[in-house]
């Protein structure tokens, strides 16, 4: 099986995959902007090389075709030196998962770069845009290849930074300036949880390396009588909290829709290949640390997010916001899939989703580029003007809706069947909830995605002026669309059906079903397939009924459900809720502590100073009137005596003589009298 050996050269190539974009980032930041074309070819070229290397190694991995394939390059770089227990070194962990991700991320990131050349043409900050995009790619590529939690976390945060910089690209818009801050802070909350989780694992197990940690978990369980000890449960949940922040799961989902303030390629980057996928990737990597109860929590969070975001998506009119909520929803699918034990299914969906969501975002970018608006009510009929964009977006929509033969069908089907297996195995309503949520959300997905297509490309142009000016985008934009569209169609079966599911069996924590479970699985698979086709079909039909055939009026429905519609359209007022509670509470704490600092702490200091000054004043008075008074008294007495004595000093010689004689006589008399 494993007849291809991974040698040093392979690892060097793998190391180059993230490092070349990193180098390109530095070059582009420092000198690129002065080069020809503002240096855009540097990041694009770097990504092309990275993608090529990633795909090359991936191909090699494919030839091995081993579910348990895993090679490591340990301790390639000493970050924090020292003896084993206090050392942190970075290396490469290359297994089926990272192989797939490296290739997919590299390719998609390259296509997004290429697309940006056209989309961002003439932008004021063109050069730094490419630098940041390049660093973003480095973050994700480094993350998927990391063999330890520390470099993983570093890359994770680098992506946070890049999302901050890129979402705030149009920073002169106050909304963009606020959105980038919100994105960074919201994910940061998850990040510190993740960091704490890592710290707990490190404190207990003294390593950051994934493989060593995975090996340690069975040992820990054995020591604890098969159950997860409290600290491991805590660590697992904290790590998952990191994924919740990054993958925009409820309740930390609020940043992702706002992230639409960034340029569209950035949205594509965040939503498809990087950032949000990192959370799913993390959940898969950390699956072993999740206790059975924690896994249910994961599944519930994911599935709830899926349906929650889907309902919001139905009510949005901004094309990018619909896609944003669809991303949140699809991420919920992936997380829920992993939570119920279908790790491979969740990751499979992550990869296919990366392809079709990138295509959808770039397609929407192409549309926005053409009509200069993001509001779907102002579009319509664009398919005649933009055939390539329309075609690629349509196949991607078919994929995300879960129409058979398209990529999303296979992966979503895998998740749904995993949830069904989960429900069947445990048989409680709690365990069945993910399945119920996800099936509903799948139907909604089909509905709102076709709503998007129909409103944008079908029907009559609603804004004639914008329609007249619309035109197909240049090749740098359409070629990436076409390639991504190709994968949106074929992603599910191009490597052979269930290729991913089979290889995924080598992932840590993945249980290969046997016996009765296998029976369940087989049974569930059938139900899931027909079920998902059913709900997808229903959703699509409903969308056509509303927006193509006009059987029902969307406006009238919105009217009828007025308060509910407003509630959902305004994203359930979660933002407002946070603003009124969390943000206000923090600002309150801030004000209180500032008051405390100024009036109590510094007040005390000034009070001490004041007391010192008062004491000084008292001593000053004492010194002036008592101490110095005594001195002055002596002086005054001396003066008084001098005044008396001067009476004898007439300045006349004769007086002195007289006094002298008198004195002599006096003295003589005394002497005589004494004798």
């Amino acid at each position: 099986m494993a007849d291809i050996v991974f040698d040093g050269g392979d690892f060097a190539r793998l190391a180059a995959v993230p490092l070349i974009p990193l180098g390109a980032f530095f070059v582009q930041t420092l000198v690129g902007r002065f080069g020809p074309r503002k240096g855009d070819w540097i990041p694009v070229g770097a990504l092309a090389i990275a993608a090529a290397l990633g795909i090359f190694e991936f191909a090699k991995c494919l030839t091995v075709w081993n579910p348990g394939f895993r090679v490591e390059w340990k301790e390639a770089f000493d970050w924090i030196p020292g003896p084993a227990e206090s050392r942190a070194s970075f290396g490469i962990l290359y297994d089926n998962l990272s192989a797939t991700m490296t290739a997919a991320v590299g390719l998609i990131a390259f296509l997004i770069h290429l697309f940006s050349v056209g989309y961002m043409h003439g932008d004021r900050r063109y050069a730094s845009f490419f630098a940041h995009l390049c660093l973003f790619s480095f973050g994700m590529l480094g993350l998927v290849l990391s063999d330890n939690f520390l470099s993983f976390f570093a890359c994770w945060e680098v992506m946070g930074l890049c999302s901050y910089l890129l979402i705030g690209h149009f920073s002169e818009k106050p909304s963009a300036a606020a959105a980038c801050k919100k994105a960074f802070l919201t994910t940061r909350i998850g990040d510190v949880c993740l960091f704490l989780g890592i710290a707990i694992l490190w404190t207990r197990l003294h390593t950051f390396r994934f493989t060593e940690l995975w090996d340690a978990v069975p040992r820990v369980l054995a020591e604890n009588g098969g159950a997860y000890p409290g600290w491991l449960v805590t660590a697992g949940l904290l790590i998952f909290a990191g994924a919740v922040g990054k993958s925009a799961q409820f309740p930390l989902h609020v940043w992702l829709p706002d992230a639409m303030e960034g340029p569209t390629p950035v949205s594509a980057m965040i939503h498809a290949a990087t950032m949000v996928a990192a959370g799913v990737f993390l959940t898969a990597r950390a699956f072993l640390f999740l206790s059975p109860e924690a896994r249910i929590a994961v599944a519930l969070v994911g599935s709830f997010t899926a349906i929650f975001a889907a309902t919001i998506g139905i009510c949005q009119t901004d094309i990018k916001r619909v896609l944003a909520y669809s991303t949140v929803s699809q991420l919920g699918f992936m997380i829920a899939g992993i939570g119920v034990g279908g790790i491979a299914a969740g990751l499979f969906h992550m990869v296919t989703h990366a392809a079709f969501k990138a295509c959808l975002f770039l397609g929407s970018g192409s549309v926005i580029h053409a009509v200069h608006t993001q509001e779907m009510p102002q579009m319509g009929g664009l398919r005649r003007r933009m055939p390539i964009t329309y075609g690629t977006m349509l196949v991607s929509t078919l994929a995300i809706a879960g129409v058979p033969l398209f990529a999303g069908f296979y992966s979503k089907d895998a998740i749904l069947s995993s949830t069904l297996v989960h429900a069947m195995e445990h048989g409680s309503i709690l365990h069945a909830l993910p399945a119920i949520f996800l099936f509903t959300a799948a139907g909604m997905t089909a509905f709102y995605m076709f709503r998007l297509i129909l409103l944008t490309f079908h029907g009559e142009p609603r804004d004639a002026h914008k329609f007249e000016h619309a035109h197909e985008s240049p090749w740098v934009m359409t070629v990436p669309l076409t390639i991504l569209g190709f994968f949106a169609v074929t992603g599910g079966w191009i490597f052979g059906e269930n290729w991913f599911l089979e290889l995924g069996k080598g992932l840590p924590g993945m249980v290969v079903a046997e016996g009765e479970a296998a029976h369940h699985e087989h049974e569930a698979h059938g139900i899931a397939m027909w079920g998902s086709i059913g709900v997808a079909g229903a959703g699509i039909l409903l969308a056509f009924a509303f927006y193509q055939w006009r059987k029902f009026s969307a406006a009238a429905w919105a009217e009828r459900w007025g308060p509910v519609h407003r509630w959902v359209k305004n994203k359930y007022y979660v933002d407002e809720f946070y603003l009124a509670t969390v943000v206000r509470f923090v600002m309150f704490l801030t004000a209180v502590q500032r008051w405390f600092d100024v009036w109590i702490v510094d007040g005390l200091v000034n009070l001490v100073g004041g007391i010192g000054r008062a004491a000084a004043a008292v001593s000053g008075w004492f010194d002036r009137w008592v101490v110095d008074g005594a001195v002055n008294l002596v002086g005054w007495l001396t003066q008084l005596w001098g005044g008396v004595a001067r009476l004898f000093q007439t300045g006349r010689v004769q007086t002195y003589v007289a006094w002298g004689v008198a004195g002599a006589v006096g003295a003589a008399s005394v002497v005589l009298w004494m004798a």
């Binding site: 930041t29 000493d78 970050w79 924090i80 030196p81 020292g82 206090s86 900050r125 730094s128 520390l150 976390f153 570093a154 890359c155 994770w156 945060e157 680098v158 946070g160 930074l161 901050y164 705030g168 920073s171 002169e172 818009k173 106050p174 963009a176 300036a177 606020a178 980038c180 801050k181 960074f184 802070l185 940061r188 909350i189 510190v192 949880c193 960091f195 704490l196 890592i198 710290a199 707990i200 490190w202 404190t203 923090v586 704490l589 801030t590 004000a591 502590q593 500032r594 600092d597 702490v601 510094d602 005390l604 200091v605 100073g609």
Partner: protein
């Protein structure tokens, strides 16, 4: 010139600035260019020498004191001129000489009293360098006081509107600390057998439990508390004021806000580290048992610094005050790391001193740039500056992201090490302190948003981009921000053996 080479290199590093001060004093006060030239020459030379020591003369694998030189000074009281460096003091010394060298070009904007300014400035450098290399408690104390006076005048004369208040507050606060230290020093001297001020010998005595006050009046027991407790408390308060540790921190924002930019840089970048250095070198090793007993309390103070400092920083409207309070917050990680006393936490805390030295120096330079142009520092009145000054925005962001602990940049390594290392001992406190991490990110990003992002105010439409001179001051720090984040070994390799020595000194018996 043979005698020149006979003086050891550390002495040169310490006293070169003092020589420079003498030269400055001899120059006529009108020849500003010559004065500035001398300052540049001297500080750069001191830095170059220091770098040479760091790279070539220092054996980084040894945790022992190196390059030790000793000379009689006041034999009647066993006082020696005794200098040397180890992995703890050398990186700090390097940071010190670097920051002084960078603060010189940042001081070129000062036009009033140039001669006096640079004379005091160079004297300050001698004082600070001297503290880092002293191996004799008395010498340490002398340098400690030498640095106090120039600082007082530098703030009090070249400062902002409330400079007198700030300078006096700084002076008195520090003096209180000095007095406590003086008492502790004399007590240690008298208690040691034979009487000595030698720091290393005193550490050794303390390690063997012989610095217990038995040779003092009443056996050193005061109010029923043993000598070691008193010694620890006195020294701790003395150094905590310098750090500054809550609740002794309020001199810091005032001093920072009023001090001229280069002095703020020195103050935040290096003077605060003297407190931490004093704890590592004197406070904890002199009273190891008391340190172990007080561990939780110290960690608690550290966490208060982190969280409280961050919250108060968030409330500030003055950019400089905000950075000052962020320093309070960052010094909390250091204290927490010290208190936990594990390899990672202490190394992280030590590294935090350096990375914070770099990032806070950078941030104060950043604030200085904007203050020079807009003549105010009110965050709320800025906006959109990134459009007008993109390069400046880039440097500022780098400093800010280093400060808020972004991986890949210097601040992350130290914060991560001190937090992860402390988790073992104080899990609850670490969990609380991450609130500080989030709040730090929040107020810094909020600041970026209000100062640099958003629409550009018409008032600032003509602000000039950062000048070459300002870049000279900031560029080396920017490079360090990135380099230390990716290659923390550049410092860790040097300090780790010395930290091992330190941990042996404070380990519970």
């Amino acid at each position: 010139m043979g005698w020149l080479s006979s003086i050891d290199v550390l002495t040169w590093i310490v006293f070169l600035p003092a020589l420079g001060m003498a030269a400055v004093m001899l120059l006529p006060s009108a020849s500003k260019r010559a004065i500035r030239g001398v300052a540049v020459l001297v500080t750069v030379l001191a830095f170059a020498l220091n770098l040479y020591v760091y790279v070539a003369k220092f054996d980084r694998w040894s945790g022992a004191m190196q390059l030790v030189t000793e000379a009689n000074w006041i034999p009647a009281f066993d006082i020696f001129y005794r200098v040397g460096v180890d992995g703890i003091s050398l990186p700090l010394l390097l940071l010190n000489t670097l920051l002084f060298a960078l603060a010189v070009p940042a001081s070129f904007g000062i036009e009033r009293g140039v001669k006096g300014y640079f004379a005091l400035f160079l004297l300050l450098e001698t004082g600070v360098s001297g503290v880092f290399v002293s191996l004799d408690f008395f010498l340490f104390f002398v340098f400690w006081e030498v640095m106090l006076l120039p600082m007082y005048f530098l703030i009090g004369i070249w400062g902002g509107p409330r400079k007198e208040y700030a300078a006096i507050k700084f002076f008195l606060y520090t003096l209180v600390g000095s007095v406590l230290m003086l008492v502790a020093m004399v007590a240690c001297y008298l208690d040691a057998v034979p009487h000595t001020f030698d720091l290393l010998k005193l550490q050794e005595l303390a390690r063997n439990g012989q610095l217990d006050g038995t040779r003092l009046l009443h056996g050193g027991i005061l109010l029923g508390l043993p000598f070691q407790t008193w010694l620890f408390a006195f020294l701790f308060i003395g150094f905590a004021i310098k750090v500054p540790v809550f609740p002794f921190h309020t001199w810091l924002p005032d001093a920072h806000v009023e001090a001229p930019t280069p002095i703020s840089v020195i103050l935040a970048g290096i003077l605060l580290k003297l407190g931490g250095y004093g704890m590592l070198r004197i406070n904890f090793p002199f009273a190891p048992q008391a340190f172990q007993d007080a561990g939780t309390f110290l960690a608690l103070l550290g966490v208060i610094n982190i969280v409280y400092g961050a919250f108060v920083a968030m409330a500030q409207t003055d950019f400089k005050k905000l950075v000052a309070y962020s320093s309070v917050s960052h010094m909390g990680y250091m204290l927490l790391g010290f208190a936990a006393g594990t390899t990672w936490s202490v190394n992280g805390a030590m590294l935090q001193m350096l990375t914070h030295g770099v990032s806070s120096a950078m941030l104060f330079l950043v604030v200085g740039v904007i203050y020079d142009r807009a003549h105010h520092r009110d965050i709320a009145r800025f906006g959109g500056l990134s459009q007008r000054m993109p390069f400046y925005f880039g440097l500022s962001s780098l400093g800010i992201f280093t400060s808020l602990g972004l991986p890949g940049l210097a601040g992350f390594v130290s914060e991560a090490m001190s937090l992860a290392g402390s988790y073992e001992k104080f899990p609850t406190l670490v969990v609380i302190s991450v609130i500080g991490v989030v709040i730090t990110a929040a107020f810094f990003l909020w600041t970026i948003q209000r100062v640099f992002l958003g629409p550009l105010d018409e008032k600032y439409a003509s602000l000039p981009e950062i000048s070459a001179r300002e870049v000279v001051s900031q560029a080396p720090l920017a490079v360090l921000c990135v380099a230390l984040g990716i290659f923390p070994v550049l410092v860790l390799n040097w300090q780790m053996p010395a930290i091992e020595t330190f941990l042996r000194l404070i380990a519970p018996k």
